[in-house]
Symmetry: C2
Subunit: 240 residues, 2 copies
């Protein structure tokens, strides 16, 4: 198998209301139908106007106290709390929480980087699977992954992961197969959508203005399963 | 940037004492000097004879009790405990521990899959950075990453990550740069070595017998830093 990953150049700055799929089609030209398009959450949020004006946010007492203790903007903290359905960890100035989608992320995915204007922050798209589905239909590619860079416990550095998927199975279940010695493979479910997102992260760069990557040559398993299968169910989560 | 990832075919079954670098050279032919070679831990462990005969292992009381409770092989559990320098979580039949290298992994990286003979299990290479360095020098490529598939809290599925690195900086620090709006990027250190390992995971497949991937077209930052920088320091770890 030979996989090719290319950063899509020539996209304009994405603004609220833009037809992101049309911008991608225009920058990419006709795509091979087997192409997987990986799109950074930031431009999806911008196009969908998932942008909050912090001047409209009234901090709660909790947000105000936390912000004061760690020198943060209390409105931004309030927005993080509002975007969370459960706080996983709140310690040393860091908030890690579960979003409404079920993903666990620092600041619930709220982010001010690459958002013009000091009073604005992006939030995650309301339904990243649906965003992916719409863009896939419009672009006419095999699959679309909406990605974001997440930190991980125990390991330094962020990696790009999938938060929305359309057109491919996010998980590749090898548990029913056997290894090369004939022994059943045990806990071998591979997070294919996350590995694709990570691969795309290599060409994206955070401030390079390359929010879209095109992946060809990877034979993904077609599916309509949501990226939510990547979120571990509470009863299986040892680190809840 | 255009990145290409190819699975290396034609490698024989790797056995203890094999010169893995020579096998890779022979299967790949002359490599572009800019190539990054990603190698699954399993074949490195086999070549280095990091294989334990379970018949030589005497289970401790803890290993025996745990194995009995969850229907596991007590010798395998004992080996997992021996390969751990700290138990992070031991619950519901799952052991997640910190290895001598500082990585946190299920079963401390002990694995029976794709190891011939029912009494044998592989352990992680003693010094994966050094394994990577030796292979890089012999193969003459830009960088070598030794990878393994790790699970993650909160997310389903395994992803391929770096446990040994030679020839490139595992972390790309974007914190000193500014975003496209001129605002300093805050927590933006990207785990490049893990993203490269994940990308390689796409062509490896767990039982396909493709334990080596060749990555070209990625301009990595040259360095001699160990993969251990990917292990989060205790004082920075909120999930210790």
């Amino acid at each position: 198998m030979s996989i090719r990953i290319v950063g899509l150049t020539g996209l304009p700055e994405v603004r609220p209301g833009d037809d992101l799929a049309a911008l991608i089609r225009s920058a990419s030209g006709p795509l091979d139908a087997a192409t997987i398009v990986v799109i950074a959450q930031k431009v999806v949020s911008k196009a969908e106007n998932a942008i909050v004006d912090l001047r409209t946010v009234t901090p709660s007492d909790l947000a105000a106290a936390w912000a004061s203790q760690y020198g943060k903007d209390p409105r931004l903290i309030e927005l993080v709390l509002c975007q969370s359905r459960r706080i996983v960890k709140m310690d040393r100035g860091v908030i890690i929480s579960e979003t409404s989608h079920g993903f666990v992320a620092a600041n619930a995915g709220v982010d001010q980087s690459n958002v013009p204007g000091e009073h604005f922050a992006t939030i995650l798209p309301a339904d990243p699977d649906e965003s992916a589905r719409r863009i896939r239909e419009s672009v006419g590619c095999a699959a679309v992954i909406i990605s974001d860079t997440f930190g991980r416990p125990w390991r330094e550095g962020l990696v790009n992961v999938a938060i929305g998927v359309s057109g491919l199975e996010p998980l590749l279940d090898l548990r029913v197969t056997v290894d090369r010695c004939g022994r059943p493979l045990q806990t071998s479910t591979i997070a294919i959508a996350d590995e694709l997102a990570a691969a795309a992260g290599l060409v994206m760069g955070k401030s390079d203005g390359i929010p879209v990557a095109l992946i060809t040559g990877f034979a993904s398993k077609t599916g309509e399963i949501s990226a939510k299968v990547l979120a571990r169910a509470p009863e299986k989560d040892l680190f809840r």
